[in-house]
Symmetry: C2
Subunit: 692 residues, 2 copies
Amino acid sequence: MNLDDRTLIIILALIIGTTLISLIYAFFLKGQLTKLKVGNSKIEEISSYIREGTLAFIKKEYKIIAIFITGISIVLALLGFIPALKNAEGVGWKSALCFILGASFSGLAGYTGMLAGIKANSLTASAANTSGMGKALKMAFSGGSVVGLSVVGFGLLGLTGSVLVLYLTLGDLAVVGQVVIGYGLGASLVALFARVGGGIYTKAADVGADLVGKIEAGIPEDDPRNPAVIADNVGDNVGDIAGMGSDLLESYAGAIISALTLGIASTVYMGSNAALFPLLIAASGIIAAIVSIFIIRLREWKDPQKTLNIATYIANFIVLVLAFVFSQLILKSYKPFFTILVGLVIGIFIGFIAEYYTSEKFKPVKEVASESNTGHATNVIAGYAVGMKSTATTIIVLVSGVIISYLLEGMYGIGLAAVGMLSTVGITVSVDAYGPISDNAGGIAEMSKLDEGVREITDKLDSVGNTTAAIGKGFCIGAATLTSLALFISYALSTGLSAINILEPLVIVGLLIGAMLPFLFTSLVINSVGKAANKMIDEVRRQFKEDPGIMEGTSKPDYAKCVEISTSAALKEMIVPALISVLTPIIIGFVFGTKALGGLLVGALASASMLAIFMANSGGAWDNAKKLIESGKFGGKGSEAHKAAVTGDTVGDPFKDTAGPSMDILIKLMSMVALIIGPAIMHIGSLLEKFF
Amino acid sequence: MNLDDRTLIIILALIIGTTLISLIYAFFLKGQLTKLKVGNSKIEEISSYIREGTLAFIKKEYKIIAIFITGISIVLALLGFIPALKNAEGVGWKSALCFILGASFSGLAGYTGMLAGIKANSLTASAANTSGMGKALKMAFSGGSVVGLSVVGFGLLGLTGSVLVLYLTLGDLAVVGQVVIGYGLGASLVALFARVGGGIYTKAADVGADLVGKIEAGIPEDDPRNPAVIADNVGDNVGDIAGMGSDLLESYAGAIISALTLGIASTVYMGSNAALFPLLIAASGIIAAIVSIFIIRLREWKDPQKTLNIATYIANFIVLVLAFVFSQLILKSYKPFFTILVGLVIGIFIGFIAEYYTSEKFKPVKEVASESNTGHATNVIAGYAVGMKSTATTIIVLVSGVIISYLLEGMYGIGLAAVGMLSTVGITVSVDAYGPISDNAGGIAEMSKLDEGVREITDKLDSVGNTTAAIGKGFCIGAATLTSLALFISYALSTGLSAINILEPLVIVGLLIGAMLPFLFTSLVINSVGKAANKMIDEVRRQFKEDPGIMEGTSKPDYAKCVEISTSAALKEMIVPALISVLTPIIIGFVFGTKALGGLLVGALASASMLAIFMANSGGAWDNAKKLIESGKFGGKGSEAHKAAVTGDTVGDPFKDTAGPSMDILIKLMSMVALIIGPAIMHIGSLLEKFF
């Protein structure tokens, strides 16, 4: 069955309708949260500082992003006027508009989610204070849901909207597929800034707050006397909520775009049907998220782990049912359904593997904790080895997924597996965002000097959040690898390359440079955290020294100054990595040609995936080894082993929260840039390829 | 000019003659060393312990290697009887014999070099005691020369001898090229054991000696009361001398074999001439090493740095002159000469880059030292970032070399560049081995309680050795990358693959698994060091506890027990990594086919190169940051910064001395295995490839 034009347009409109329902639901939930009164002046005061700090950062960050976006969109638009690029549809003013739309919607999703998150922080703290676990859990879950629904709502609305408008004006799906890549590029660029900028921000504040506050001044974590404590909290919002959200929004958009491109080229199915299918799966995921969130909110839960699990199960079940229906209805085959299933299953497996290597329940973390007994170095070495080892099973699961989905549906199958993995992203982000919200609620409870019992509730909420965070990170990496792979295949398709032969020297050269980039990028990002943290340390020391009243609790520290320092440092430091990610594919492409650029993408994909898995799991293992020791094992709090474990945790912080997650974006952004410029290189030609 | 058979055979015989001269000179120098009397009973006693310990390790190690070698050679020989493999010349009894020869000669070179090294250790210490710098330098240099001359002598003798015998019996150079790969595989396998086993040994002993002796018992480094001190010294011999020697012997053999294979397939030159050229370059390198060592030994030098530099300059100059002559004479073109030049130049550049990132004279190490002021974690993070950053320039230099040599001579040019880089390996190994010899001489001086002034001389000798070690490590990595690349190209040639297309899913799957392996391998090796070190720590603690006389200096510690522990731990732990390196290519190849195996090789090549560069330079930076602080900067010895720097140094130890150097072998060994089994897979077919 080939869909006629009218049916196609109606279905696209229905998908847009679904995204609108998702956004309406998100704004309804957000409205509910906004209406609620916190009812505790101390919490409100703290919360207002965090809110101000976050907005100050976002405002500055978005200004810098706007400059980048404007510059790139002008270049994209102007490229369209070059006669040689008349047929390179990836560039031109239409693509530039998509690019602006992708960037704006990603920004909007991050902004909406973050505001809801901040409000939910204080409501969760306050609910834990007045009504207990059930209510607190509901607040945290609601906040997370707004983030999740905004990410998928905005993400798919913009994408499907672009496809519909472009199809109505251009009439040719193949051209639409090329132009709409601009949307993915826009989302990628914002994600890079959110992840890298947010990551540098949050770790600089964290390290600064810890090193001077906890170690030098001897005051507890989240003590309101610590000038950097608000910046630390702001960092959690911008890094863990907005950063994570835009990372997954980008994977989501990227996976759909690549499956769409591969679908259009399908020789097995009618192009329009195959292109529509991933969009329908994404819409199914949105429906699944809405229904799941709706069901969970019907009654009050007490057990956070169970609640999050049930939400996830419901969503997965709905997606699978709908995927089966659409697979039969649109593509008349069970095979596309199985590729979706493969994607879902490997996403879950990779999450479990991440949990195994980073949870204190299992052997790896116990070993890292036990190695802390022989000192700082052995702790560091053990955590390092755990992360490296975790690459093995993760990669084996990933490649199994690639093999099975390829056997089912060829290249298109790999694209579908990525879409399948990301189809439940609405609920994944909701569950992921729940973590930092609970964590921040705990911080606010501490800062507001609420009862011990309150902190116990938020700690219980948060402990579940730690597991979801580890699983979520594994999921982000798996999604990024699979998406980049699908984008890479789309790249070859769009540049008409039927083979990228690693026996050709330029391909090998590209591959080696590509494999090197993630190492360089990591080094830059980690250095940036160090530099920013040092500035923060100096500022906190200065405040303690110049105003002894702060430590006595008689005068208020200058929170805004610390926020300001983290903000400018993070924004300044994120520019070079951003430029490297955008410019390297352009330079390699125009100097050495499309094949070398293909090599670059694969090299970067391989090494960034390994580094991302390694750094995320090493970081998680160090973190939980420290927590295990703090719980009284292997010497307990204050022992020499604990000091060693703190070192490991501090080493792991930039690993798992800054450099690691940046790897995901790096490879997706590079693939997007390649996808945009590939056809342009083909038309113009490269500088040196002819000599080889 | 096409060489007639007779000329070819004469030239091969002349090359063999050169290698014999090199070996005669090596044994002459070794004889001179052996004849010399140490003349100090304390030194002789210590030296005899080291000698015994080394021989005990070597004996056990060679036993295990012999089992592996026997098993693999039987498999290789039996494979030749499979009818389907009648035309796969890489397997069969001839190849098995080459394999045994390669393993034996590599073992012989390591054994000879090590014995000379041990003798030179004590002679250097004794000379520093009785005659001063000039004589001590001469002893250390002589010891290093024996190692260098044995490596190139044995390496090229076995290889050229095999080529000659095979050519005389088979008559077809193309077949000879395939059979002789067995020689490379044998050398690779021994190198893996020497590097991994030696690396685990040396670091377990080092960490064990330091943690209990220096930190717990508070006795200085190299104190004879420390039971692990002899094991530590044995480790330096087996890891830094035998390990490094067999690593480079393997690169040397691998580079020549791949250039030979590529030369035979040359369409520009006559196959026999192109195949002969790399052998002639290697022979030129041997002549260069002999002449250079001879000239240096004509008079007594005082300045170690100057001496080593002059030796290197002379050797480079001679190689270049001879390369120019042979290029014109044999290939009638200046281009092959330039590829040799390219190889030499990038080898030197990579060495310089390693020096920049790891010498206390430059900014990176200063920064690591300065970051030690804020604690253990910031020191670790800074060192980590330095290593990662160093991948950028190193890879850019490497790929520039690949590009230029390809433009000059195509794939053959890449092979020649590898040969060029390794042509001066005779003198490189001599200079490299000089480092651990001087280091050990210092240890012996300390243990024998010689004057302060003696230690000053050996420290001065050793400080030059540190620079040469960093440069040498960079060189090993560059050589390994280039050699593996050349072997990879030979692999494609031998399996008749004209394209390995990364758009094919099996190639991507192979590539991802390949990129993962070095991470898994590193994790295993690092864990092994930890496990072995823990056993050593327990033993040293036990000895101190059970016999208080040891600390009082009244009773002798049980050195042999510590040697025994390091020996069994190292040998036990090296088996799994060895199996992984050998079995993975076989499994991937026979299950997914030759293209997937090609992907595996490239993925491993890319990620192992990055990890090798990163770990070597991070390790070097941490080491020298500690030394910089110990020299009085940034707080000096005993400060908090110093403790942090010690942590970094301890983390870096398994990085730079165990895992890092193992990467080089891993990729070369995998390439060799692939090269051997590739044609067999082609003939038999793979299990799953047909489904893709």
